[in-house]
């Protein structure tokens, strides 16, 4: 199906902290729609009843066309933007980064869960019990101006348009 578009699968990662499938950005869990059910092959009958005109039933893996790359969310296009927003995530000490689809997550909590699984760590978060902060990590992001900020300071909806990439650093190194 090629035209030069970047494939949406994340790069393979040579590391012992091999994450489970559910955390993978290229195989996103869209809790909002039926794509999970369809992938489990459970809804052949429902697919007949699908009303194709309802946007909430948009499948993540159909139609079989890789998305046209666009300049993040700051392009003033139609209100239905690209259904993916991939950013790179680096963990301190590991040379090769991963890619993550931010739009596949409902909010910060969801994002932290995915990252915890992907990098096999615990990312500090205000609501968490900080038992052993020495082994925890902190999540930071680079914004449009190139500044590195702590993730979580602004509402999720404001975070999305400004984030360029993510970095996970050790809590004790800040």
């Amino acid at each position: 199906m090629g035209r030069g578009a970047a494939s949406s699968s994340s790069s393979s990662f040579e590391s012992s902290s091999y994450p489970s499938v559910s955390g993978e950005s290229s195989f996103p869990q869209r809790k909002r729609d039926l794509s999970t059910d369809l992938r489990l092959g459970l809804s052949i009958s429902t697919s007949q009843q699908d009303n194709p005109s309802t946007p909430s039933e948009q499948l993540m893996d159909w139609p079989p066309s890789k998305p046209v790359p666009r300049k993040a969310l700051d392009s003033e296009e139609n209100e239905y933007c690209s259904s993916t927003l991939f950013v790179k995530v680096y963990m301190e000490g590991i040379q090769i980064g991963r890619k993550l689809n931010l739009l596949a997550h409902d909010g910060y909590h969801d994002l932290i869960q995915t990252l915890d699984q992907m990098f096999n760590t615990n990312i500090l978060w205000p609501e968490m019990d900080v038992e052993n902060s020495a082994h925890c990590h902190v999540l930071t992001y680079e914004d449009k101006e190139g500044d590195w900020l702590i993730v979580g300071d602004v509402p999720w909806e404001m975070f999305l348009p400004s984030v360029r990439r993510l970095k996970i650093t050790r809590a004790d190194s800040l």
């Binding site: 970047a6 494939s7 040579e14 092959g41 893996d61 066309s65 040379q95």
Partner: protein
């Protein structure tokens, strides 16, 4: 078998010394078999077609041996069908290797990542047995930086690296290839995912000059150092093909074009000026730059395009044979003045933003068109859609030499598809994707059976078909009846019952690759293909009605088939439903790099 001959000489009764008679091995004439082998070896060097070679190798042992010695291009359509050891033992003089890994549906999120298709065991084996390896062409393989390093170190004469839809490596791997492979002519990265290791890989090419003929890196999402690129282009006098990524602005493109006017294939970066060119200021003369490149026959890129700049390419339009606008969000109005000059165009990839009107313009001018791909700008199901049967009909009437079409649309009619089947008899590839699942002919309300039926009936050269829209078993009956040379078939959200799949498995003797998703085919249908599966490269079925039991039956009946059941997410218990079945013939049995979510029956 006589290995040697002896000749008996009797000397005459003349003067002089010497035995009166002796048997000596004075002249060791080659035995007839050896002569045959020599002749064969000389002749078989000229045999390039894979099919012919495979046939020749089956004649007898000696032909098998000689063919193996004279084969220089190794093609492996499924990296798990044969082990690296087996392949490298049989073919010892290989110069070029093509390897394909993951199945195509993996590109569309239908398979969890890290399923397999690792290059590592292959490159290790080849490093030992093919010191003179020159070309490696990979598709859908997982390649690591270590693999690239081993490749760069092991093959001193390495010339060509082509990575299509690959992942697992980064700019550090590219840097190693750039610096070590001194004979490198081709480095083509196509639709691959390259991670950003913050390594300026372009600067690792030697400063003293390169043999580069082709450098394609439009899929590399990381920024590059433009000065290094400019130096590289200046140092590469043989460079003919250059495809830039979107981090190269128009101004930078201009500078490169001035350095390399002999380019034949150009992929522009972003087709918009960088921010430091003020509005209204006289920018570089793009028209002259394009006019100076008299050899350009293929243009692509145009990411982040500002359509006002499009007329700059006018000087090259008359010579273009290939134009890729599939990243360019342009309207019919923008397209028309450009396309009206492209009389020689044979390959055209475009976004549906040009609408039916744009396609009509294509049909009016591009009489030599062989391949058309129309991609969706917005891949959704519920919108009106800018292209339809009108565009398809127009193309079929204007572009009679069409051989390959990929067409995404929201609505279609049987009439237009039937028209194409009659107007374009040379069609080899017909892929129609009606994005609304189960959508019927929007004028008659009928299923799309008749349209696809006409395609298989009338297009006698058709080998690849992808179907969509509302389809009953009847469509499959047509395919089974008329699609006698179909090799690749793609099915999604189609069919009524097991009969659909049965028609195809029983009717299409040349079927090699079958990929099916979300269709109501069950175990009985699967079993009806037992006679054929050893002749296929693979079968993929996801979200169908298969059970573990049915798949087990196949696995037991066909021991040389690897039957993989792929589970999704956390549903790793073995329940009766099979999410995804991927099965393929193999000489090696179950692979040893199976991830957790795959079980091999």
């Amino acid at each position: 078998m006589i290995l040697a001959q002896t000749r008996t000489y009797t000397t005459g009764s003349g003067p002089g010394p010497g035995p009166s008679s002796s048997s000596v091995l004075e002249y060791l004439a080659p035995c007839p078999d050896q002569v045959l082998e020599n002749v064969l070896e000389n002749v078989l060097w000229f045999l390039t077609s894979r099919k012919d070679r495979n046939a020749a190798s089956l004649v007898c042992r000696s032909w098998y041996r000689v063919e193996a010695l004279t084969r220089s291009d190794l093609f492996i359509g499924n990296c798990y069908a044969v082990s690296p050891k087996r392949a490298t033992s049989r073919f010892t003089r290989i110069r070029s290797v093509t390897l394909k890994g993951r199945p195509r549906f993996a590109d569309f999120n239908l398979m969890p990542p890290n399923w397999g298709a690792h290059l590592a065991p292959w490159v290790s084996a080849m490093a030992l047995t093919y010191p003179w390896l020159e070309k490696v062409h990979l598709k859908r393989m997982s390649v690591t930086d270590d693999d690239l390093a081993l490749l760069a170190e092991s093959f001193s004469g390495f010339k060509e690296l082509v990575l299509v839809c690959c992942d697992g490596f980064g700019t550090s791997g590219l840097a190693i290839v750039a610096s070590r492979c001194r004979q490198l002519k081709v480095l083509d990265l196509i639709e691959s995912e390259v991670s950003d290791d913050d390594v300026d890989w372009i600067s690792y090419f030697p400063d003293t000059g390169t043999c580069l003929e082709s450098l394609i890196f439009d899929c590399v999402e990381c920024p590059i150092d433009f000065d290094a690129l400019e130096r590289l282009v200046a140092n590469s006098p043989s460079l003919k093909k250059l495809r830039l990524n979107r981090h190269v602005s128009m101004g930078q493109l201009h500078r490169l074009m001035v350095q390399a006017p002999r380019l034949t294939h150009l992929g522009t970066g972003s087709f918009s000026p960088s921010e430091d060119v003020a509005q209204g200021e006289q920018g570089p003369d793009y028209v002259s730059a394009f006019a100076a490149c008299k050899s350009i026959v293929c243009l692509s890129g145009f990411r982040e395009i500002i359509p006002d700049y499009l007329p700059a390419i006018n000087p090259v339009c008359a010579n273009l044979t290939s134009l890729n606008f599939s990243y360019a969000n342009v309207s019919a109005e923008h397209l028309k003045p450009i396309i009206s000059n492209c009389h020689k165009l044979q390959i055209f990839w475009v976004l549906d933003s040009i609408c039916d009107e744009g396609l009509q313009a294509v049909a009016a001018t591009c009489k030599e068109l062989r391949e058309l791909r129309v991609f969706p700008f917005e891949a959704r199901e519920d919108i009106e859609g800018p292209v339809s049967e009108v565009g398809l009909q127009a193309v079929s009437e204007g572009c009679r030499k069409l051989e390959s079409i990929l067409y995404f649309c929201q609505r279609m009619t049987n009439a237009a598809v039937v028209a194409m089947s009659k107007n374009c008899p040379d069609l080899v590839v017909f892929r129609l994707c009606i994005m609304g699942r189960h959508r019927p002919d929007h004028v008659t309300g009928e299923p799309m059976d008749e349209g696809f039926g006409a395609i298989v009936m009338n297009c006698k050269k058709l080998t690849r078909l992808a179907v969509s829209g509302l389809l009953t078993d009847r469509a499959f009956a047509y395919i089974g009846k008329y699609g006698k040379i179909v090799r690749t078939l793609s099915v999604a959200f189609a069919g009524d019952s097991d009969m659909g799949l049965k028609y195809v498995l029983e009717g299409c003797p040349r079927l090699q690759k079958l990929e099916i998703r979300d269709s109501p085919f069950g175990d009985a249908a699967l079993l009806s293909g037992l006679h054929h599966y050893y002749n296929m490269r693979f079968l993929w079925m996801s979200a169908c009605n298969l059970s573990n039991q049915g798949c087990q039956q196949i696995a037991q009946a066909l021991p040389r088939l690897v039957v993989e059941v792929i589970k999704h997410e956390d549903n790793l218990d073995m329940d009766e439903n099979v999410d995804t079945l991927y099965m393929y013939r193999s000489l090696e049995g179950p692979r040893d790099d199976v991830p957790r979510f795959v079980s091999i029956l």
